[in-house]
Symmetry: C2
Subunit: 209 residues, 2 copies
Amino acid sequence: MTEDIINVAIVEDEDEIRGLLEQIIDRSPGFSCKHVYKDCESAIESIKDARPDVVLMDIQLPGINGIEGIKILKDQMPDTDFIMLTIRDEEGVIFQSLCAGATGYLLKETPPVKLLAAIREVREGGSPMSPGIARKIAMSFHPSAENPLTPREKEVLTRLTDGENYATISDKLFISGNTVRAHIKNIYRKLHVSSRAEAVVAAIKKNLI
Amino acid sequence: MTEDIINVAIVEDEDEIRGLLEQIIDRSPGFSCKHVYKDCESAIESIKDARPDVVLMDIQLPGINGIEGIKILKDQMPDTDFIMLTIRDEEGVIFQSLCAGATGYLLKETPPVKLLAAIREVREGGSPMSPGIARKIAMSFHPSAENPLTPREKEVLTRLTDGENYATISDKLFISGNTVRAHIKNIYRKLHVSSRAEAVVAAIKKNLI
DNA sequence: TGCAAAATACCCCATACGGGCTATTGCACA
DNA sequence: TGTGCAATAGCCCGTATGGGGTATTTTGCA
């Protein structure tokens, strides 16, 4: 399954960086880099011929950005692994990249030897991440530090995410429907929402339950 | 902030493995391992004296398991980093561990030199993961492969997750409220749910939007 | 060119839901 | 010892929501 030579493509608008990366990769044993693009538009047009194993993708690009680019390219080449290679480390772009289909996320400060190791790793079923990036991803699963809900409210909210209604919740918790309503009203007030749908979204996105 | 010597604690029930880990770590320059426990109960009781920088935590333990153990210990020591060290690589336990507060996740097959590197990495703001584990986490963000929803249904579902009601959605999409209802009915049927709350939970958990 | 799916639109009807109130009990902390 | 919060419980009321239908137009693919 794994080719001897890993076929790498690059999408990067800055000529100098692109050239440098191309040389580093193409001159390293076990790697080949014959397809480089300076924007997503050209990559989308001709990358089907390249059939790369791995694509190194910048985020800030003229025209279609790297995140939108991955959505399009990953769709065409589901077996290709995409590694973001960028200076941007804000949570927003990290999670947008992963949601678009990126499998790795490296900062441009990554030294060449680590970059090559990352390309190998992603082909071997890993998911190379710069340390600070990996930490942000792990933290995104951690329980929320400031959770305004009481234990009972968490209990009720959990059941709301399971789609239970007033009657079911009051049955299972052995309390009256009016009390369930009281808890839900308090949850809404604390989370600044006014419907079950908003409440469960807030609960999941902020790791409240 | 960073101590010269990293103070490591271990929670592991198998005597042999625990002893081996203790020796590997304690005999390595830059590391200290003076606090080892064979279950979470003993760790909870006396770990406050240890004040470890890093805890290596097994999952399968007699009594309180490693996941529940982290919930309790992380609460008491929020600045301590917890690394799961386990043979288990099922998605369930991986995400449960992260949600409990784990920052790293290593398989027991990890060679000593990599284990030590991981302990250093977690203290330097990283989040060490065995390659296959990291991949599973990255994949959890990827768009769902089999998404039964049409583009319009995705659009409507996205707005449901934003807490919009029939009227707002029909206004913004320039379609009648009846059409919005028709889309929502189709969404419910395809996702096997029967309420907004369930639909938005399914949408988020299965990366449908 | 024709079929299937998608997107649009409408109807009836019961009820689960959300907003606005008030009230009691028990516990903890000051 | 009282102030505050959590948890419990009740009431009224309007409406947004969900289940059951049917029908038309547009779009995309074979």
